[in-house]
Symmetry: C2
Subunit: 167 residues, 2 copies
């Protein structure tokens, strides 16, 4: 029986567990956040504009990212990403922070780091009539994968620590 309530949450749970490990080891402080929603005009605007799932700090550098899962085998549909998330990641990167997506292909059991720069390029192409999804093969060729390592369920910070990702 498929548990629909938890669908798409596996990666998020694994990231939370990993964040606890990172914090305990003193490697990084990364927090699952939710922008508070208020019914005032001001706050509503504020909330809409700035939501990503995770914010934190690694070696002094600010980090912002979202976790995405797809059950597709062949591509990651850009409809999984909201425009305000793209905008937020762009702004965050422009302020010198690391901004990216963690994208999991559930059927392949593979998780990739998609930098905000890469994401923005695909998004822009889609907006100009290009394809609305990113091929799985493209991820394999262009993105770092994330592995379990040293008791960290998804050691997604390692590619950054090793300098393999400069996002």
């Amino acid at each position: 029986m498929t548990n629909y309530a938890n669908r798409g949450m596996q990666l998020e749970q694994e990231i939370k567990a990993s964040n606890l490990s990172y914090q305990q080891k003193g490697i990084a402080v990364i927090q699952k956040v939710a922008t508070p929603l208020k019914k005032t005009k001001d706050s509503a605007f504020y909330s809409e504009k700035s939501t990503v799932d995770f914010l934190g700090c690694l070696n002094g550098r600010g980090i912002a990212f979202d976790a995405k899962e797809t059950v597709n085998r062949t591509n990651f549909p850009l409809s999984n990403v909201h425009e305000h998330q793209i905008n937020f990641l762009e702004k965050y990167r422009n302020c010198g922070g690391r901004a990216f997506l963690l994208v999991r292909f559930v059927k392949h059991q593979e998780t990739f780091i998609l930098s905000s720069v890469q994401l923005a390029q695909w998004w822009k192409e889609a907006a100009y009539g290009g394809r609305k999804s990113i091929p799985y093969e493209w991820f394999c060729e262009n993105c770092e994968t994330v592995q379990s390592r040293n008791g960290i369920v998804v050691d997604y910070l390692r590619p950054f620590l090793c300098g393999r990702v400069t996002a």
Copy 2:
């Protein structure tokens, strides 16, 4: 008539407005956050351990801080700060981020930057039987003040940008 519902919220509102200015000017991306609360054992633990009000990025550097107000004239009671906030700010600083409190003395209409290092020292002294509050005069002598500037309601990032605060 005093509006108790909004008491202590003035500084937070001013920070939110300032954050919008910072974002629009491309200076920094700072977000008001709330750790999502869930009724599972895991998440409850996670939430309790890691909550501060604001997280973001300035010139690539991670930023974490809380906003505090006191109506006291002569001191800032340490009871305004929770132990898990102290711990979080410490961990954040140890990962290279900027971690601090913005402390407003409402009666003096003055707002100070209290670094996590300074805060931790006072907290430790209090734990060993020292005073449970930080004197207003001490803030005046040891902390940078925050001013309105260039249309930014509380330009609390300026002391960092000018290198006057290294927290």
